[in-house]
Amino acid sequence: MRRFSLFLIVMLLLASGAVFAQEDDPTVTTSFRQALVFAGPGATYRDIGVLNPGVPIKIIERNKVGNWVHVQMYDTDGTVTLDGWIITGFLNYPDELRFSDVPVNPFLPDAETGSVESGVLVELYGEPLVGGISPTMRSVLEQGIEAGRDPYLVTKIGDSLIVSDLFLNLMNQTDEILGPYDTIAAAIDAFTVVDDSIANEIGMASFSVLDPMWAQDERCEAGETPLDCELRVHQAGIAFVMFGPNDVRSMNEERYGEEITIIVETALAAHVVPVLTTFSVHPDDELYWQGINLNRELVRIANEYDLPLINLWSAAQILPEYGLDEDKVHLQNSGFTFLKYDSGHEAWYGMSLYNLLALVTLDDLRTMIDDIETNEGAS
C-alpha cells in the first residue's frame, strides 16, 4: 500500500511536471509562405536561411512590438537546424499563441545599423520601432491631469495620412480581433480617440495647422490656429502628430523642423504628450531623400524633447511597397474596418502596422498613467 502511495505521488508529480513543461514549452507553429530568416529582429540583420511553409518551428521570443519573432527549427533528434528571426505576419497563428506568454528579447536592437551603408539612414534605423516613455513625459501627463485634461483621450494632429478613421479611431469600436496580440488589448479598452479633430484635415501641412485660416470649425475663436483650437476644445492628454507627405513637397528640412518644433512646444505648453512618427517614403519617389531628411528632423526633435517616437519608416521597410498605397504616399490598408491582427496584416499593410505600433506606444502610456493614478490614490 505504501509502495502504491509512493507510486501514485510520483505519477502525480510527473503528470503535473508534464503539464508545467507543456505550459513552458515554446509554441510550435509553421509559416504559410517562404520566409527569410534573419540573425535578429529586422531586415538589416544578416539573413541566415530560409524557412519553407509548413515546416514546424518553435517560437522562442519576440521583439517588443511582436511583429518579429525568434524561431528555431529542429531535426528529428531535436538538434536545432535553424535559429533566427522572421517577420511574425508570415506565421500561421495557433489559437493558443499569446504574446503576453512569449518573452521579449531585451538585448537585440530593432536594427543592425552596422550593416547600413548610408550614414544618414543609420540615424533612422538606430531608433527603436517604439521608444519608451520618458520621465519628462510622465511630468507632462501629471501636469495634464492636474490641468483637467483626460489622459485617456487621444487626438490626432496631422494630414491625410492619419485623417482616416482607419487610423486609431478603430479603437473606439469593440469588434477587434487581436489574434496573438493580446498585449494591446488593455490599451484598446483604456483609450478613446477624438473622432472630429480640428487639427487633422486632408491637405494640411505643418504650416497650415498653425494658420488660423484653416481653423474653420465654429468652436474655434477668431485668430485661433487649428492646433490651439483642438488642444483647447477636446482636452485630450495625448496627441499623435504626423506631418510629412505634404510638407516634403513644399519645404526643406530646416523649415519643417521649425514648424514641428512649434507644434511640439505648443502641445507641451498645453500639457499634452505629443507622439511623433517617422513616415514611410518610397525609394522611387523623387523626393525620397528629402523625406529621409524630414524624418531625421523628427528623430532629432523627439530626442531633444524626450518625446515618444514611433519609427514607422524603419518598421515599414520590410513591407510590400514599404506599406504604401499605389500613390506611394498614403498607407495601404487591408480593407477591413476593424482592428484585425489574426492573419498577419501587420506584415502587409502600412495602416495595420502603424496602428499596431501606435497601440504598443499607447500601452506604454497606459502603464504610466495607471502608475500616476495609483500613486495619487495612495498619497
Partner: protein
C-alpha cells in the same frame, strides 16, 4: 446779368464736380483696402510669394513662409470673392469661398473679416479680425 448767372452756374457745376471727385477719392481709398485683401487672398491660395510679400503687413512678416506655404498641399481657388471695407476702414469683410481640392475631395474655407493697415500709402492684409 445773364453772364453772371452763367458764371455762377458754371461755378456750381465745377464745385459739384470737385465734390464728386472728392467722394470718389474716399471710395477709391476703401476700394484699395478691399483690393489689397483680394490680392492677398488670391496670392495665398496660389502660393504666390511675391503677391503675399506685397500685401502682407509688417507686423506679420515673421509668418511670411507659413502664409506662402499654407495651401501648398492642396489645389485651391477662390469662388465668388467680393470684399468691401467696413465702417471705420480697419477691417475688410469678404464674401466667397476658398475651395481646396486634395485627392479628389473638396474642402471649403468661407472667407471672413480681415484686419487691414495702411503702410507707406499701401493697404496691407494683417490677419483675421478678432
Amino acid at each position: 446779368m445773364v453772364r453772371v448767372f452763367i458764371l455762377l452756374l458754371m461755378a456750381i457745376l465745377i464745385a459739384s464736380c470737385d465734390s464728386g471727385a472728392s467722394t470718389n477719392g474716399d471710395a477709391s481709398a476703401t476700394d484699395d483696402a478691399a483690393a489689397a485683401v483680394e490680392g492677398y487672398l488670391t496670392a495665398k491660395v496660389s502660393n504666390d510669394a511675391d503677391g503675399i510679400r506685397r500685401y502682407l503687413c509688417s507686423a506679420m512678416e515673421a509668418d511670411f513662409d507659413r502664409e506662402v506655404q499654407s495651401f501648398s498641399g492642396v489645389e485651391a481657388e477662390i469662388e465668388g470673392m467680393a470684399c468691401a471695407s467696413d465702417e471705420g476702414g480697419a477691417t475688410v469683410t469678404c464674401e466667397g469661398t476658398i475651395v481646396a481640392v486634395y485627392g479628389g475631395e473638396n474642402r471649403d474655407f468661407p472667407l471672413g473679416t480681415y484686419s487691414v493697415v495702411e503702410e507707406d500709402g499701401e493697404w496691407k492684409w494683417c490677419g483675421e479680425a478678432g
